[in-house]
Symmetry: C2
Subunit: 332 residues, 2 copies
């Protein structure tokens, strides 16, 4: 190859990259169109809606938006598995609720223990240990646990179309953040490897932590006190506290994301507010207004009223998970 | 100029940039040497101590480390000025401490009101308003207020040598963060313009905030409850909570920075722990063990024991402020 040919190829590459479809797992439809149009508007230097790269803040809920949340929030399933792992050191749990229910897979008794029971399970598995110990526990679980219906590792239950959105946004100078109800320390264990989102861009619920020094070695203890609940109105609050800039793009899937979407929408200039609508009982799950997990009711109404981007999973997504071999083509 | 000459110049530029002194306001001395040696170690790809760019987290205290903190913390002086600005709407303050003391510049009465009085002043000026309103108040003050002894805008009372360290680190792939006792929202108003540190890299003390919607317009209210005190052990706690990575470089100037320095030092691989030691009564201020503001006692002892980088301001800094026209050359 002559030097001249090589140079021509080199210069041709960026054009080629631009021409390639950045969202191949999305069907040609209104959702894909609105995402691409938005990104082109804010990244075109002579566009009226141009946004400087440093202000291209994009926020994503995690459960139900980047990965599945059925048959239960994955972090809850982690907590149940941790109780089972810890049980040999706690023989008293055999007769104590809510632990007994978890150990016996007694869903009825567990449901009866209510929020109080669930909180007890969370405090037992998420608090009273150092941040390093907690990270190790999450890492161990992620590497061995399997999703109850698919049999896949939890980190494979992520949405291929959303991975493509994250990569596309990054390629266009955006900084994608996770802003989600899950524990920050839990999500940080896999967010970088799975989503390409580094620890400092993961915002979630937090426990009050304490700096301690033992035998000259400092560590950070997770106490049994919740510092921040990153759900609903807690989301704009954490966005303001941690990022200090208003996002120009926000993606969620439930009423817990409504305030984050409102906060994003209320800024000046072009905005994209997106909702993943779980409508695909065959390939994933179908649920909205009446679901206990990821209830989508008020946010769906507001999205319709204000013309936000509603992603009808069944029709808009060609493929759901990266491990799927067949794809669902739809004509719009 | 021929195309060939232009190309040669172009290729020569990076080498030229490398050869230039990245820290011209530092005298040739042990502090400058340790900073440059550390940066070269962690950025040289074949060095044993090489650190990937994404892990090059550097944290800096603000008051007394990046800008002066005498004759009082600048944010405290802001709070006093705000009380004066708000006084016409509060005629009752004429007879109420600690407000009366502030309005009459009565330092003795103010000191007598103690921490409780100071807290009342902070709550009055920092809480009960939206984050946007607070930002506007800080902006207005910064643009008009002058430092009581130098007569300069507060944002010019920054240390030129530290601005050079920040720029040098950034040029070498580091992400410098502020981790400081000041209010996060206060520091974000000027950190980007003055230090080149964007809002999302500013970590400080915070109030509990609340999302509220009035007439369809959402805002974030700063309530009168402290959420996080970013001082002492609060610093490693916020570093872990917000960044989620351990810094490899930390710079402070007082005992309030000790835990942040310890936390940084306790990581694996090369580390730089730095302390600005205020030893220059002529050009800035001289204070350490006995100072009420920025007391440096235990941290200085530990720095000496563990061979941290102590920056003796009088001997190591050629120039203190950007506005200085003469420079203090010292032979080491």
């Amino acid at each position: 190859m002559s030097a001249r040919t090589a140079a021509t190829l080199l210069f041709a590459l960026p054009l080629f990259a631009l021409a390639a479809d950045p969202l191949p797992s999305w069907n040609q439809g209104p959702a894909k169109k609105s995402i691409i149009e938005f990104v082109e508007t804010v990244t075109t230097p002579d566009s009226k809606g141009f946004v400087q790269p440093e202000a291209r803040i994009a926020v994503f809920d995690n459960d139900g938006t980047l990965w599945s949340e059925q048959p239960g929030y994955f972090e809850e399933l982690f907590a149940f598995d941790e109780i089972k792992r810890m049980a040999p050191q706690h023989p008293e749990w055999k007769d104590q609720q809510p632990f007994k229910a978890v150990l016996e897979n007694d869903h009825k008794a567990l449901a009866e223990s209510g929020m109080e029971g669930l909180l007890k399970i969370f405090m037992t598995t998420h608090a009273g240990l150092t941040t390093d110990e907690f990270r190790d526990n999450v890492q161990r679980w992620l590497s061995s646990a399997r999703h109850p219906t698919s049999g896949k590792p939890y980190t494979e239950m992520v949405y291929q179309p959303m991975l493509e959105v994250l990569a596309y946004l990054r390629s266009q100078g955006f900084k994608p953040y996770i802003v989600s109800g899950g524990d920050t320390g839990f999500m940080r264990v896999f967010a970088e490897e799975v989503y390409g989102i580094p620890p400092e861009h993961v915002i979630g619920s937090t426990f009050v932590t304490e700096y301690q020094v033992k035998d000259g070695k400092p560590s950070i203890l997770r106490t049994a006190k919740i510092a921040h609940n990153d759900d609903g109105p807690g989301k704009p609050v954490s966005i303001d506290s941690v990022i200090g800039r208003r996002p120009i793009l926000a993606f969620g899937n439930s009423d817990g994301d409504l305030q984050m979407l409102q906060w994003t929408a209320a800024g000046d200039g072009p905005r994209l507010m997106g909702l993943v609508h779980h409508t695909d009982a065959k390939r994933e799950w179908a649920y909205d207004k009446d679901s206990k997990i990821g209830r989508l009711d008020k946010a769906l109404d507001q999205a319709k009223q204000q013309d936000w981007t509603i992603v009808d999973m069944a029709s808009q997504w060609r493929r759901i998970y990266p491990f799927e071999t067949s794809a669902n083509e739809q004509q719009q």
